[in-house]
């Protein structure tokens, strides 16, 4: 019974989102072609799954560090640089598997560099990750002549990890890496203590440096998966001026939402569900021709605030409902 309740609560968000967008799109002429509602076409399922996979990978990478009390700015830059290197290796060798392995290797190396700068530099984490971001972004102009990578996504044999069903492989690896670290490693389990009270955690004997090292290695694996999906779907060009931090800010929304949704189950399920729900919202807005431009940004902002306001007040709402129930019982 409890399991059923938790499952229903977990699925509530995407189900609600689907129902709301279905109602809105069904009432708009723009969403019909030859009498058929485009929101209910196979393309919706395909796009939601493909986009959600990318979102899940990046969101897990961000959450893994946030969970351990660290705000990492460098995730976006790490992903972009790994994508450029992996994409070019893939083009030169003609092997998508080599591209994937390269993405993981590069991403883990970059993550380890970030960790080393934090551990040995003893610089506050936000500042050291900003430094890492600037460095990784600058390297995108220096590798492969600053040309980025362009033809990888359009070569069907290479971009298998950006399309269905191949996209599920890197996504599953990313989820597995997250679950293994958080639930099956000592460092992962101790991370929560460090997040809640760093000094107490260190004082009771938790080796914080080992925790950082291990967490960044797993973050690197997850970001490597994100990188291979990203390069399989997009042209990747060099970036500068902390523009990759925009990637982090756009994927942080499912992270925060996933934390709340995951209360009914666990955080990784919450993030996956949040990603699916957000992509349903995006697809619905695209059907309404509101997928790009000013209106979409405003809708997204209002939605984020509304969601957080609701989740922040949940305790008060529950208390109010309990008081009303008591009053009725007394009456």
């Amino acid at each position: 019974m409890k399991i059923i309740k938790k499952t229903l609560l977990t699925l509530l968000f995407p189900a609600l989102m689907f129902a709301v967008m279905l109602a809105i799109t069904a009432s708009s002429d723009k969403c019909y072609v030859d009498g058929q509602l485009i929101f209910l076409q196979a393309d919706m399922v395909r796009q939601v799954l493909v986009n959600a996979c990318m979102t899940v990978c990046v969101a897990l990478a961000i959450w893994l560090q946030l969970k351990n009390g660290r705000f990492d700015f460098s995730a976006g830059a790490n992903m972009i640089l790994s994508a450029i290197i992996a994409g070019n290796v893939g083009l030169q060798t003609g092997s998508p598997v080599l591209a994937l392995l390269t993405a993981v290797a590069v991403s883990v190396a970059l993550s380890c560099f970030t960790a080393a700068m934090y551990i040995f530099g003893r610089v506050p984490i936000i500042i050291s990750t900003i430094g890492a971001t600037l460095l990784f972004e600058s390297l995108t102009y220096l590798v492969f002549g600053g040309a980025g990578v362009r033809a990888f996504y359009s070569t069907p044999g290479l971009s298998v990890f950006g399309r269905l069903p191949g996209i599920f492989l890197p996504t599953c690896i990313a989820v597995a890496a997250f679950v293994i670290f958080v639930y099956f490693t000592t460092q992962g389990r101790k991370g929560k203590i460090l997040s809640n009270n760093q000094t107490a955690g260190v004082n009771i004997g938790i080796n914080e440096k080992r925790n950082i090292g291990a967490s960044y290695i797993f973050t690197g694996i997850i970001l490597g998966m994100a990188a291979v999906i990203y390069v399989s779907q997009n042209t990747v060009t060099p970036q500068a001026g902390l523009s990759t931090s925009g990637i982090m800010f756009s994927y942080i929304v499912p992270v925060f939402m996933g934390m709340f949704i995951g209360l009914a189950s666990c955080d990784v399920v919450g993030i996956i569900i949040a990603a699916i729900g957000m992509e349903i919202l995006n697809y619905g807005l695209n059907c309404l021709n509101l997928g790009a431009g000013g209106t979409q940004q405003i809708i997204m902002g209002v939605f984020v605030l509304g969601f957080y306001a609701f989740s922040g007040q949940l305790g008060n709402i529950q208390a109010l409902l309990a008081r009303m129930k008591n009053r009725r019982a007394r009456a």
Partner: protein, 332 residues
């Protein structure tokens, strides 16, 4: 009876002074180094180059000075760039609609009112709704991005403009002097409020330990709102100073200001966790270092692809010197 200073104490006080102020010294050393390079590579257009640096850095300095209040509380605002963009567009629209000096005054007042409102929103709503402060900041970022887009769409053009003669003196020398006067005035005002008033005391207290500050009887919500509103006022003024230079705005105006402000404050030695070590000088020192560095690398003829790499390396070296925390747990 006279008290003689112990020579041993005198010898140890200078190294102790150095040890206590190594971060400040490193920040100022960074500024000095970029200034020396600037003077060396300025060449025959040194005077022109100097005024270019002044005009480039002025808006950022003013906004960074206001950001000191917010960052000293351990918070940040990622919506600054988008706010600057919308304020610039609104100011131009009002000036073009009303015309003349009256349009300029009305435009600035309207934008100032909006900036103060956004500041109050940032400071109050997060507390009332029990949200992380980044959430209200993200909301404003999304909202203003959309607003900027829609405003520019409504104009039907890529860029709108207003004659700069309406916004500043025509004489270049007078314009530069005005910029200096504005920067000095804002710096003095911010320094006064930050160092000698309750606002600075309480914002640093909130950054150091919000719970202890609240339990000391400080109305932390009220002072957060005031701090964000002070920041908003600086954003409005910074936008006006930026417009004085270009006279135009578009759908991307202001992009990147949030990150630039963060980098400038870090370079100036501002702790991002806020607290008692926050200082106003970080805004001035950091911004000038950042702007001079970009200028130096261009005038030195450093290859375009290498400029970002060099800047990144210099940033890392500076933060390793200025932001390093010895002993204890790893800093967060």
């Amino acid at each position: 009876m006279t008290t003689k200073t112990n020579p041993a104490e005198k010898r140890s006080s200078f190294p102790a002074f150095l040890g206590r102020h190594v971060y400040d010294i490193a920040a100022y050393a960074g500024l000095a180094a970029t200034l020396i390079l600037f003077l060396i590579f300025g060449g025959s257009r040194l005077a022109y180059n100097a005024q270019a640096v002044l005009q480039t850095s002025a808006p950022t300095i003013i906004i960074a000075l206001g950001a000191v209040f917010v960052y000293s509380m351990g918070y940040m605002d990622v919506s600054v760039g988008q706010q600057v963009g919308v304020y610039a567009i609104l100011m131009i629209m009002i000036i073009n609609a009303v015309g003349g000096a009256l349009g300029v005054v009305l435009g600035f007042l309207a934008v100032l009112a909006l900036a103060l409102l956004c500041g109050a929103f940032n400071g109050a709503v997060a507390v009332w709704l029990k949200l992380p402060s980044i959430v209200t900041s993200l909301f404003l970022m999304f909202f203003f991005t959309g607003a900027q887009f829609l405003l520019m769409e409504s104009t039907g053009t890529n860029s709108i403009s207003v004659p700069t003669s309406l916004l500043r003196p025509a004489d270049r020398g007078a314009y530069n002097l005005l910029l200096v006067v504005i920067i000095v005035a804002v710096a003095l005002a911010v320094t006064y409020f930050f160092r000698f008033s309750k606002l600075g005391k309480y914002t640093r207290g909130i950054g150091a330990n919000e719970t202890a500050t609240a339990q000391s009887g400080v109305a932390t919500t009220r002072w957060k709102v005031i701090a964000y509103m002070a920041f908003g006022a600086c954003v409005a003024l910074g936008t006006y100073v930026m417009l004085m230079r270009t006279g135009s705005a578009g759908k991307g105006t202001g992009t990147g200001y949030a990150m630039d402000i963060m980098i400038c404050l870090i370079l100036g030695g501002m702790p991002l966790s806020g607290g008692m070590k926050s200082k106003v000088s970080s805004a001035l020192v950091g911004t000038l270092t950042y702007v001079l560095l970009t200028n130096d690398l261009t005038t030195m003829g450093v290859d375009l692809n290498m400029i970002n790499f060099v800047k990144a390396l210099i940033f890392i070296v500076i933060i390793l010197i200025t932001c390093r925390r010895r002993g204890g747990v790893l800093p967060r």
